[in-house]
Amino acid sequence: MFRPRKKSKKQMVNTAIILVIAVFTILYLLPIYWMGITSFRPEAKSMSWPPNFSPTGLVLDNYRVVFEQKSIFWYIRNSLIASIISVIFSLVIGCIAAFSFAFMRWKAKTKTSLLIWIISLRIMPPIAAAIPLFLIFARLRMIDTFPALILAYTFFNLSFVIWLVYGFFKELPREIVEAGLIDGCSYAKLFTRVVIPLTTPGIMTVTLLTFIASWNEFLFAVKLTAFNTRTIPVLISGFMIDRGLLWGQVSAVGLISIIPVIIVALFIQRYIVSGLTFGAIK
């Protein structure tokens, strides 16, 4: 369709939008920039008036302290173990549960009640569950072990995964699913060949969100870890001392801790492309 006038209008609108978004993004990310800059400044200069935006006078002191004294790699390793494994568990268990709810014949009432019960588990303030969960794991002698942390995180994220993935599954056009079933696909094939590829953007989004939730989880990380499994949020909370705040070091740790997440997000970007998947399947 060749409509020159509309096209240039569209281009103008697009340029305007790009500008608006660019300005918004810069303002929106200002606090992140501020955190970054503070991490590269010596502690004594971390706060001054007027706020110093220019990337001058940058030093690596804070990072040196963080790497040498705070053994941040060890914390990153622990966080990675706990987060990645719990994400994998949540995804697998959650996706097959969501698949069941979305594509198999359920009595409407049963399905609705189950789904609502699942989401209601997320309502309980985690603080109230902190002590009993600690007691469960203490009884099982699992305090300060990775399985405890992974189980806890899987538990938290599962209802979230099930609901979101269920939603993405339900949004698939009925015809495609039905066509697959009529063609004699087994459920397994349907799942792997049809459903997952078509809902990849959604599932990847859920993966990212679940990873972030586990990566930044603080309350249970503090309670369930001790000598061997402390994760990054525990390290960060260690800076919240009543005696004073080391702005530079906290910023350094903060910046370092978002890098793995950004890596995961970038990795996921490749899968969130619209339109491509539909054409391929057709």
Binding site: I21, P51, I123, M124, Y187, I212, L219, V273, S274
Partner: protein, 284 residues
């Protein structure tokens, strides 16, 4: 008949985890709420005293009020901004897109504790960005009666990407045929949006809204580092109050009773809301 059993088998792992780790805490909380129980000391059975005290507690009502303001404001703002961003970013904008797309999600990656610390720096009355942007000096956003609104601001900053990411994924999952159908009919962009795009992503919006709503009511990490409930309880939300009662006071009876009332009320609200949505729009 494999199918009949299969659907149960598929949800079994999830159910095992839920039942295994949810039942005891629920039972523990329920039982604990009927005792005056200071963790570490013997408990005394007092029936409904904790619940009655809760209704008489000015701290609890204050927390309720703060929570309602916080949640309504934060979730509403996050939804609007997230929706606008998602729609804008869904357009064809060339190379620009992947970079900005990921960039916009970064605030969500940062640990809420760190977010609280950053905003504490920003809100500093004498050295903070906030004062500098406003051109003032000595204004303490978290030191006056309106501290709650500034905490909401920090929350919106952090969680808008949540809405944005979910809505964007939903937008990208809309089969192109549906969108094209709209174009053929010659409808305007705005109409197309309201009648075709929006309904297609309605499920995503509802679920994002519900999830965010539930998380906001329990909000804790941000408040813990930004204001610690201050000034004078001005930013104490239900989540924070329960935390303070359980962690600092070790007052298990009081904390669990509050948690239970909260869970029950929220559970009813959400069930009713989802039920209503389901009847009107067939969401579930």
């Amino acid at each position: 008949m494999i199918e009949k059993r299969l659907k149960y088998y598929l949800i079994l792992p999830a159910l095992i985890i839920f039942l295994g780790l949810a039942i005891y805490p629920l039972f523990f909380a329920l039982r604990g709420s009927f005792f005056i129980w200071r963790y570490g000391m013997p408990a005394q059975f007092v029936g409904l005293k904790n619940y009655i005290d809760l209704f008489k507690s000015s701290f609890a009502w204050n927390a309720l009020q703060n929570t309602i303001i916080y949640v309504v404001l934060a979730v509403f703002l996050e939804l609007i901004i997230g929706l606008v961003l998602a729609v804008l970013m869904n357009r064809e904008l060339g190379f620009f897109r992947p970079v900005v797309r990921t960039a916009l999600t970064i605030p969500m990656f940062v640990s809420p504790i760190v977010v609280g610390i950053i905003w504490r720096m920003i809100y500093n009355p004498h050295y903070g960005l906030f004062n500098w942007l406003l051109g003032t000096q000595g204004f303490a956003p978290t030191g006056n009666e309106y501290a709650l609104f500034f905490v909401v601001l920090a929350d919106v900053w952090q969680w808008t990407p949540f809405m944005y990411v979910i809505i964007l994924a939903a937008l990208q999952s809309i089969p192109p045929e549906i969108l094209e159908a709209g174009e053929i009919d010659g409808t305007t962009g705005w109409q197309k949006f309201i009648h075709i795009t929006l309904p297609s992503i309605s499920y995503a919006i509802v679920i994002a809204l519900t999830l965010r709503f539930m998380d906001a009511t329990k909000a804790l990490d941000l408040i813990y580092t930004l204001t610690y409930g201050g000034p004078g309880g001005g930013t104490e939300t239900i989540g924070f109050l329960i935390f303070r009662t359980a962690f600092n006071d070790l007052n298990i009876g009081s904390a669990t009773s509050f948690a239970i009332i909260f869970t029950v009320v929220m559970g009813i609200l959400i069930t009713r809301f989802l039920g209503w949505l389901n009847r009107r729009f067939e969401i579930v």
